[in-house]
Symmetry: C2
Subunit: 274 residues, 2 copies
């Protein structure tokens, strides 16, 4: 089926974190329309199993298809790690995740071949960053560390706080000691505490935010498929639409702190019925 260039891009995440990816898409491909879905009724994904995250991701893809999206971005590292391979085989529109782009940038950035990855338990346990990095550079050494408290600390707003510094030091000291020169922020919440992480690991370590490269690869992919929207949507045409599975008010508050675009509404849907 040939999609319409003017159709929106579907972007999804377990909650609000994927907005850091949506923000990058808005910056780099400003003509595109976006339908964002945040699974706020079942957030977080990072502590759940592959089976469950895959089932949830399939439901979300089915919902996004009802919105006639021309492509899908899995803006969640855990869903990219657990569900993308399977879903890719099941659908006939382009779909990309955040892991492969992040792995590519890190492989390019490292000088000593030692790359650290910080992410949820699920993403680290899947070893997916390691797999993709080694496809590019088989000699690379990839060291993963799960940081389960980072998401709650970000959601509690402790972006610049001694407690977050202390937790970051505990999580990151092993990676620093092992001599990494590149660190992937492998969870979409982590760019929000980039300055804390940077302070702890020091200037010698390059921080990689997969969001930037994901938006760049999305742009390339849309060009190849002749799906890039060539004209800016008209004002008042709902260029960006937001759907959540729960608690729209809270989502809107958080979203407006991330995206400098006045997000006025988010529609609640029952994702379990898809």
């Amino acid at each position: 089926m040939k999609m319409n260039r003017n159709a929106p891009i579907g972007v999804f995440d377990s909650g609000v974190g994927g907005l850091t990816v949506a923000r990058e898409i808005m910056r780099q491909i400003p003509n595109e329309r976006i339908v964002y879905f945040g699974d706020t009724a079942r957030v977080p994904y990072g502590s759940k199993s592959k089976e469950t995250v895959t089932r949830y991701s399939r439901q979300i893809v089915r919902f996004l298809r009802t919105q006639d999206v021309k492509a899908i971005v899995v803006a969640c590292n855990t869903a990219s790690a657990y569900a993308l391979d399977e879903i890719e085989k099941e659908i006939d529109i382009p779909i990309i995740g955040v892991v492969k782009p992040g792995a590519k940038v890190a492989s390019d950035a490292t000088r000593n071949g030692k790359i650290g990855v910080i992410a949820t338990e699920a993403t680290i346990g899947s070893e997916i960053y390691s797999r993709y990095i080694k496809e590019i550079n088989p000699k690379a050494e990839v060291l993963g560390k799960a940081c389960p408290l980072f998401v709650p600390l970000v959601e509690e707003g402790l972006l610049h706080d001694p407690v977050t510094d202390e937790i970051a030091m505990r999580y990151l000291s092993g990676l620093i000691d092992s001599g990494i020169d590149t660190l992937i922020l492998g969870c979409t919440h982590y760019p929000l505490i980039r300055s804390t992480v940077g302070k702890v690991v020091g200037e010698g370590v390059t921080l990689v935010n997969p969001a930037y490269e994901t938006a760049r690869e999305l742009r390339e992919l849309l060009e190849q498929e002749e799906l890039l929207n060539e004209t800016k949507p008209e004002l008042g045409s709902n260029q960006y639409q937001f759907f959540v599975s729960d608690a729209a008010e809270k989502f809107i508050r958080f979203a407006n702190s991330i995206i400098k675009y006045g997000i006025l509404s988010a529609k609640v849907i029952n994702i379990e019925t898809y």
Copy 2:
């Protein structure tokens, strides 16, 4: 419908926290069989809406009915706050939550009438502890404080840790300043950091764990309804059964750290289909 005395009690929670309530039931009514359900695929509930938590609770009650339970304990403060009133009207077996018992003990314990409640955002926002306490003592002053980082800190195992001390000091200083003499641990995870909370609030403040009183009221209720099991189930008869919606291995590990009874297995079910 007259239930069977030998039927199990259904106990549910958003995840593992409710095991602190199950543990109290095992201690106080050792003849009872228990079917425990932890909604690990959708945990946590404390940041979600009333509508969503009520929908989830209804699904769980439907599942527990398939296990022929004679009574249900809502061993989750958020579900007790949001869903119990409605579900009570819909079913014909006894059902109790943890909020009313906790409110009763606190009302009895306070000397100066100033009671603090720490709990999830949802439980605090519902003001349900305040409502129940004022039914008993209309002059009581009830001060609530949401503590969203406590659950992730407990799940990360930081039960005795300077970071948990620091966070506890921030959350509790307002309650201490306002002169409370009684503090309700209004989330089933919090008894696991009872010593940290106790250290911060000082010996002058009585800590109330609703689990103890909930098990006591359950025993009374079963006696009244002539549903108390009079004989100890035989060895090997699966007195305690555990079901979860995801990640059984992780649940079993955590469960065995809470309950001194070798929990060997937990069955995963798809709760969305109930």
